[in-house]
Assembly symmetry: C2
Homo-oligomer: 385 residues x 2
Amino acid sequence: VRKVAIIGVGCTKVDDHWGKSLRNLFADAALKALEDAGVERVDALYVGNMSSGFLQGQEHLGAFMADAIGMPGIPAIKVEAACASGGVAVHEGFKAVVSGLADLVLVGGVEKMTDALTPHVSSAMIMAEDQEYTAYTGITFVGLNALIHRLYMETFKAQPEEIAMFPVVDHQHAVNNSFAQFHSAITVDRVLKSPFVADPLHILECSGIGDGAAAAILCPLEKAQEFTDTPIEVAASTVATDTLSLHERDNLLTFSASQKAANKAYEIAKIGQSDVDVLEVHDAFSILGPLSLEDLGFVRKGEGAKFTMEGQTAVGGKLPTNTFGGLKARGHPVGATGVYQIVELTWQLQGEAGKNQVNGAEIGMAQNIGGIGTTVAVHILRRVK
Amino acid sequence: VRKVAIIGVGCTKVDDHWGKSLRNLFADAALKALEDAGVERVDALYVGNMSSGFLQGQEHLGAFMADAIGMPGIPAIKVEAACASGGVAVHEGFKAVVSGLADLVLVGGVEKMTDALTPHVSSAMIMAEDQEYTAYTGITFVGLNALIHRLYMETFKAQPEEIAMFPVVDHQHAVNNSFAQFHSAITVDRVLKSPFVADPLHILECSGIGDGAAAAILCPLEKAQEFTDTPIEVAASTVATDTLSLHERDNLLTFSASQKAANKAYEIAKIGQSDVDVLEVHDAFSILGPLSLEDLGFVRKGEGAKFTMEGQTAVGGKLPTNTFGGLKARGHPVGATGVYQIVELTWQLQGEAGKNQVNGAEIGMAQNIGGIGTTVAVHILRRVK
């Protein structure tokens, strides 16, 4: 099987980009990645995006973005898997290189969520769930996560403080990330005194609404050294799914798609949890942090919140997680998020993570969730020695 | 390079399916394809769809459809490229098999266009074009095709009768296709006396609005005989793009994406135009029939309409085209269309095309367009001897 490497990455700041359209955002990130790789043209393009049709009246983002970056003509395809659209775009790009049908592939994600009415953004997000079985009740995406949050607290006797710690660590990391949406440190006390969005979820436990784009250039590992001195191998790229609706599941506190995608990734990369030096998890809501640490097998079920409370996910802890701020603080421009994770892990493994550098990081892992654990993309990246 | 085969196909009738949701339609087609292949489970699923977010409030169709067909858990991904979404889904499934990361792959397309207000469908369709540069003017997708139609007539001195012949042949073929949306034969006279939708395009020159789904099962060619006595090889699968906006192009009467995708496909399959026994072209509007015959290299530029008028595209002619009715008469449920083409070619090459069977057909070719020639997916299928 042909091996794949990342040879360049780039992203925009996650922000309210009032002056930039979907096109501008994507082009900014893509051109940075191309420049980083020293590449002027690619063989194929994959774009991850969830809601541009509904929010901007623009579909057909593959060809649209190929044109935007000056490459009309190349095979260019949009993929969508709700909030996992970015991770899935990386997965399709990975597969294109493995297949031998393309050498240089640009994978990117973009989402523009401001410049739309808040109710429209809520309507867009709940489309990740089942419209006929669940969304029609009027429940929001935040509301569904709040149910998981409450069940977790009751089942595992977890304290609100323990779960609130996850966003606190995120914000602590984001202070040093100039691309992050939020740069302010917060405290557990401040999280728990912030208004409820959907009880028991406080607003400071929810990722915000923001615009952003991220991109990476992939190529066969054997050719990577032609482009960069610090290629990063994509040691595994997996996708798994689960039912959309929660009522169809046996267990609401274990995301089987996370487990499936992760276990397959460990097997392909031939590593175990203890080999992972730096982690990115999809904490769109605080509860998804601890839950993901458990589903990926880093701690036992029910112990994720305690592990976070002990400071183990902070840089300097046992398992530095979301070292650029995660979804809560770096931001969560939906279709771009999975690609931001890849960009940030690449920087960590290249030793380019600045003040939040995890010393000697060799292996990084990213988990990107679409829906309520419905689609999960997992990537394992490895520094090439 | 690993070779790929089709081992089963299925589709629904294109129709106003008032009693069937997006989910039901897809499941119907997918289960038929699984049954045709004698397969109970696949390794991965690709779903082509354009507008379910905007029209049904449902995104995340990969996982959604995996669940619908009883396979939650498998990697399942939605791809979108406007009206070429179906062809592009087949392309991604093809790549998954070539990469060796999957053996059995289900590729399908679905679109539900009724049960939505007509202005909404028009709004959905124009999202294939550039919202900021073109769609904001208020022009419709039909309107843009009418401009091409008029320019073709003026440039090549083509007669309305010659262009109107394309839908006439489509309808003639669809009479024998029980899955077709329209079963009535029409005449050139009737086409030209039907109302204008956008001058010079008459309503009988435009594909209608309909619901439908189609699916195919792919596997490595070397394993295909385990499943069927009549596997069909996917000899080439290519995608190319062009600018979205027409004002960015040098030539409005040549779709360079069609040429690029087709030329690459001929090269990969090691065939020339004269080897093609049966053809499917993307005639969403009558003018796209002749134009595509030219872009794919079957006739010289400007001669497509005359070639049609001579009856060469009818079953029995030199180049039987759209033998199940094409977009005009079989129907054009947008994201499914590219997969319908694959299903129909498979039937032709298996000798299962009934009254419209092209005797001895060995090689089939499908061209699926998204936007105004913006994304083109080309497939070349070959009967396995």
